[in-house]
Structure formats: C-alpha cells, structure tokens
Amino acid sequence: MNASVMQFVGSNFAMKNKPFEFRIGHSHTVCKFISPETPVRYAEASGDRNPLHLDAEAATQRGLGGAVLHGMCSMAFMLSGLMLLCGESVFIRDVDLRFSFPVIPGEVVVFKYVVARTEPGRLEFAVSARNSAGREVLKNVRVGAVIRNSSQEHTI
C-alpha cells in the first residue's frame, strides 16, 4: 500500500481520495486491513461459528496454517469497499464470486473495482481481491448495482 496516495477511511479501509466515475474501464482500489479479532466479531454477528475460523488448532489440523477469515466476511468487506466508493447513490443488486484462497487475519486485502458495464440506471463491476502476497483470494467477482431510485426499491 502506498501511504502517500492512500487515506484511511472508516475502520481499517484505505483508499485514494478521488471520486469514482461510473464509466466503463474506470477503476478504484481500496485496501482493507483484516484485524485479528475480525473472525470472532463476524462469528458473533452472523452466527457462523465454524471452528475453522475461530480455532487455530482446528484450522491447522486441516492444513490451513491457522484460523482463516469466513469467506462470507471477505465478500462483505469487498461490498463494504464498493459501498464506500459509491455512497448511498447505488443499491447492490447482485453479486457472484468464488472463494479461491483463504484470507488470514492480520493481512491486508487489496480490492480493485473496475466499471465493467453500464446501462441506464445500472452498473456492473468486475472486482479483483488479492492478499499481501498478491494471491487472488476472490475470483470471478461480479457485482451488479442499480442507481438508487425510490421506484426501484422498497423496504419491508
């Protein structure tokens, strides 16, 4: 992470301080530090208490070298970064991805968001997510979003 061009925003997110333009090919990068307590916080919030994420010994027995972050939490951070970039003007409509490599608490994940497609009122982002070693932790990531409009959503 280049500290001279990144600013920390929110909790452990860092991003360049420039607006995200919704035109094809435009990209933006967000870095996320995965704090060691993240798996416990996510387990409490989601109810997913798989020992793989909470018990280093159990994870090591499976050859993972220590407790790993929930895949769904990696996905959530990816979406949080996009929501930070886009603000409240967009509504996440769909997401599709593969979990390709475990995320280890204590490392930084770099999310790169590229505007892949635009249609009236709708955007599609291609996203890459790499760990500190440059390895892809999420693959084939596609996120669809719609521009917020009171006629396109409702709250129950």
Partner: protein, 128 residues
C-alpha cells in the same frame, strides 16, 4: 463419490427470522459497513440457514471437517430493515464431483411473510 447424490432436490425450511436494529448494527460493525443501512451481506444471518442445515444432514455423508465455502451468488430485490420478518427455504440443487473434489450446491430463497421475494442465494461448498 462419497456425497449422497440422492439428496439432490431435498428441501430445508421454512426458517423464520426477524431482523433487529441491534443485529443489523452488530453485523455492520463486524464488516465495517459505511453506514447504518443493513449491509447486503447481512443476508448471511438468515439466507444461509438452509445451506448450513443441508451440510449437516446425516444422509448427505459430508465430512464437515473437510468442507470449504467455494462460491457464492446473491440477488437482492428489496432492502431489509429493522423489524423485517423473513421466511427462508432452501433446496439442494446439485451434487457433483470434479477430479478429487466434491461439490454441493444449495439454492436459498428469502421472502416476506406475504410471499414477496426479498433475495435469493446460491451456495457452493467443496469437500477437499
């Protein structure tokens, strides 16, 4: 093939859930959500339930200690808020092998009590 392919088509649910302000904020804090709206991934708190239950179905013959979450798809149709009542059903869509790996795919749909679809999830687990 160790997984029981006869379970393709088996359904799980319905599971009821009520979203609360506290659980939304707790989830948002855990995933560093940028605002107080329910984060899209809050869906994991209720839509994932059929996947979790299916994986523990003794007839599936799945060794849970060898399972990893391999893929995820969501379609969101509505915003969840405090007090939202949600009913979720799921179904094993597919069980297949690719090389030494075995996969189980569960589709899950969450609706309001009057039947409006709120979101759909597709969960893929891999047994290594």
């Amino acid at each position: 093939m160790k997984l029981n392919v006869q379970l393709v088509g088996r359904c799980y649910g319905p599971f009821s859930f009520t979203a609360s302000q506290d659980s939304i904020l707790m989830f948002n804090r855990a995933v560093d959500a940028p605002d107080n709206r329910a984060h899209p991934a809050y869906a994991a708190c209720f839509n994932q339930k059929p996947f979790s239950v299916a994986l523990r179905d003794p007839e599936l013959n799945l060794d849970f200690s060898r399972l990893l979450h391999a893929g995820q798809r969501f379609e969101f149709f509505s915003v969840i808020g405090p007090g939202s009542q949600i009913v979720t059903d799921g179904r094993i869509e597919n069980i297949y092998a690719k090389g030494d790996l075995e996969f189980v795919v569960v589709a899950s749909e969450s609706r309001s009590p009057d039947g409006v679809v709120l979101l759909r999830g597709l969960y893929t687990g891999v047994v290594k």
